[in-house]
């Protein structure tokens, strides 16, 4: 009996140890909460903030637009913001919210949006 509860306890402890501090979110959910506001719910640049931006948010559904960017380019733009890739500072840096792995997932997600 004692042995069992000890085992249960150690399993629980291990569980606690391996639970990451922050849960990795799905790219789809990150895009919804963080990117819809400017890039729009369809990803085409029609977010509710778009009218307030001096540069239009990139149309993520446009293959012609998105094909101009390398994956590295997209990764840096998301992580460090527009200014880091000589684009508009209205594109914010997301590294305080998204982990590198989440940003990598996001790059893949964007390829899905532009089908390119």
């Amino acid at each position: 009996m004692k042995k069992v509860s000890l085992m249960v306890l150690s399993v629980m402890f291990l569980g606690l140890m391996i639970t990451p501090l922050a849960v990795a979110e799905k790219a789809e959910d990150n895009y919804k909460l963080y990117c819809f506001q400017c890039h729009g719910s369809k990803g085409s640049g029609g977010g509710i903030n778009a009218a307030a931006l001096s540069t239009a948010p990139r149309d993520h559904t446009s293959a012609t637009e998105m094909k101009k960017l390398t994956d590295e380019n997209i990764f840096t733009a998301i992580k460090e913001g527009g200014a880091a890739v000589s684009k508009s500072t209205f594109m914010p840096p997301w590294k305080s919210i998204l982990t590198d792995d989440e940003i990598k997932d996001m790059v893949k997600y964007l390829h899905g949006l532009c089908k390119c």
Binding site: A22, V23, E25, D29, N30, K32, L33, Y34, F36, Q37, C38, G40, S41, K42, S44, G46, G47, I48, N49, A50, A52, L53, S88, T89, F90, M91, P92, P93, W94, K95, S96, I97
Partner: protein, 229 residues
């Protein structure tokens, strides 16, 4: 003789003070009871910790209040609790309130806070809310002195893109977040400084990313916001 007079006036003063403190403690208690009976907690989180997942954020009905005593000015709270005004043009969680269009999204129906307290109740609830502090926030950081408004405006409107998400005038700026054109009346400047330095400390999943600026620039922004009245 002189010292006796001094002693008496000291005692009188101390009595006065304790009555004052006693009153405000009584108000806080009534305020706490009101928050419970009016069920503010059915929409607002009155206790930390903040939401840690997007799924939880999407279920949020109203802004967190467990650090209200650090965030707000008491005078503003008293007015707001009697007659709430709209703060967030697209509601608490904008993404729940948009009509998704093929080309463009639009803001759907949003309603203000439902608090409708009397003058006395609002005072008591405000006293209670002011006891809910963020323990790590420094006070006395932002002092009311001259600053370069022009430089602060460049940070706000161009360099750091704050206006992309926030309205700094009634008719211009982004709509996914709180309007700031009257934030000087609403917010404690020390809290604004602390929040700007790390919004994720207050709300890990909030859709305002942290900018890496010097304390000096954060102070400029906090002072600019304090001047928005």
């Amino acid at each position: 003789m002189k010292s006796l007079k001094l002693l008496i006036s000291l005692i009188v003063f101390a009595l006065f003070l304790s009555v004052g403190i006693g009153n405000s403690i009584a108000d806080e208690k009534k305020g706490k009871a009101l928050v419970e009976s009016k069920k503010c907690g059915s929409c607002h989180k009155m206790q930390g910790p903040p939401d840690k997942t997007i799924a939880d954020v999407l279920k949020r009905k109203a802004p967190d209040l467990f650090y209200a005593g650090s965030k707000f000015k008491i005078e503003w709270l008293e007015g707001f609790l009697q007659k709430p005004t709209m703060i967030r043009p697209a509601g608490t969680v904008y993404v729940n309130n948009i009509k998704m269009g093929e080309k463009k999204d639009e803001i759907g129906d949003v309603k203000p806070c439902t608090s409708a307290l009397s003058k006395d109740e609002a005072h008591e609830v405000a006293e209670y809310l002011m006891t809910m502090k963020e323990p790590t926030m420094k006070t006395g950081v932002i002092v009311d002195d001259k600053f370069s408004k022009a430089k602060a405006k460049v940070l706000f409107g161009q360099k750091e893109g704050c206006s992309g998400c926030h309205r700094d005038k009634a008719d211009s700026g982004g709509t996914s977040c709180p309007t700031l054109y009257n934030a000087g009346e609403r917010l404690n400047p020390d809290w604004v400084f602390d929040f700007l330095k790390n919004p994720q400390k207050y709300d890990p999943k909030i859709w305002m990313p942290r900018r890496e600026l010097s304390d000096e620039d954060f102070m400029l922004l906090a002072k600019l916001i304090a001047s928005m009245k």
